[in-house]
């Protein structure tokens, strides 16, 4: 597939999926009933919000926690301005976030509906560069990704992308704190 830049490219929601998912939620949880027309508009708004999430930038916060970076961070502090390299072997990054759907009828806010996006990206390896004790860039190669949108415990949409390509080198500006 082409290069992945935002979360919408890994999972998106149709109006039909939203409508059917909301119908399947337990009624005692106050699950809203939305018409087909409203579901179509709501799904598109959720998809637009997913398109705002920078996948590489978000995953970089996980790489910054790698224990393998600690030695490189120490080495980089001994040689200011020079990159120290570290390699991470096979690993997963798991990301969750919460899309929130808001509806206004005129100026009156209706109760918001909260969703969950879960993403698991499996990488064979990643090369990381540390400068002045901070993670400056990552070369991750491609990933196998599964992403889903849930409402409560109900999965509304799920998509597997076996060969998701990120940038060959993700440059982090500003560089990320390690740990």
């Amino acid at each position: 597939m082409s290069k992945v830049s935002n979360l919408r490219e890994l999972v998106e929601l149709t109006g039909a999926q939203l409508e059917s998912g909301l119908k399947s939620l337990p009624r005692d949880k106050g699950a809203p009933k939305l018409t087909t027309a409203v579901c179509t508009l709501a799904a598109e708004e959720i998809n637009k919000s997913l398109a705002q999430v920078d996948v590489a930038g978000m995953l970089a916060h996980g790489w910054a926690r790698a224990r393998a970076l600690r030695d490189a961070a120490t080495a980089s502090l001994a040689s200011p301005g020079k990159p120290a390299l570290a390699t991470l072997g096979e690993h997963d990054l798991r990301y969750t976030c919460t899309p929130v759907l808001q509806m206004l009828s005129g100026e009156a806010a209706l109760p918001e509906i909260r969703f969950t996006v879960e993403l698991v990206a499996h990488f064979k390896a990643a090369e990381m560069s540390v400068v002045d004790g901070r993670l400056a860039s990552v070369a991750p190669g491609s990933a196998s990704v599964v992403a889903r949108v849930k409402c409560g415990n109900t999965t509304l949409a799920e998509k597997a992308t076996p060969n998701a390509r990120l940038s060959s080198t993700i440059r982090l500006d500003p560089a990320l704190e390690i740990g």
Binding site: G89, E90, R94, V100
Partner: protein, 65 residues
Amino acid sequence: METAASWLARWFGPKRALQVAAHIDPASSTIALEGGEAAHPPLTIAAHIVPGRVELLVRKEAVHE
């Protein structure tokens, strides 16, 4: 004049109002109510992301030669 939204909230409470308001056709300017139709204000729909967290699970450390 009272808006349909405040009418709904007053009679059904905010949670139930959402369910009733869901029957609003966004392309229409009226809402079907028992006993007739009432004008409703435009329905605005928006979504935003509350950032979450990312976890790293290392399965195999890199092999260094």
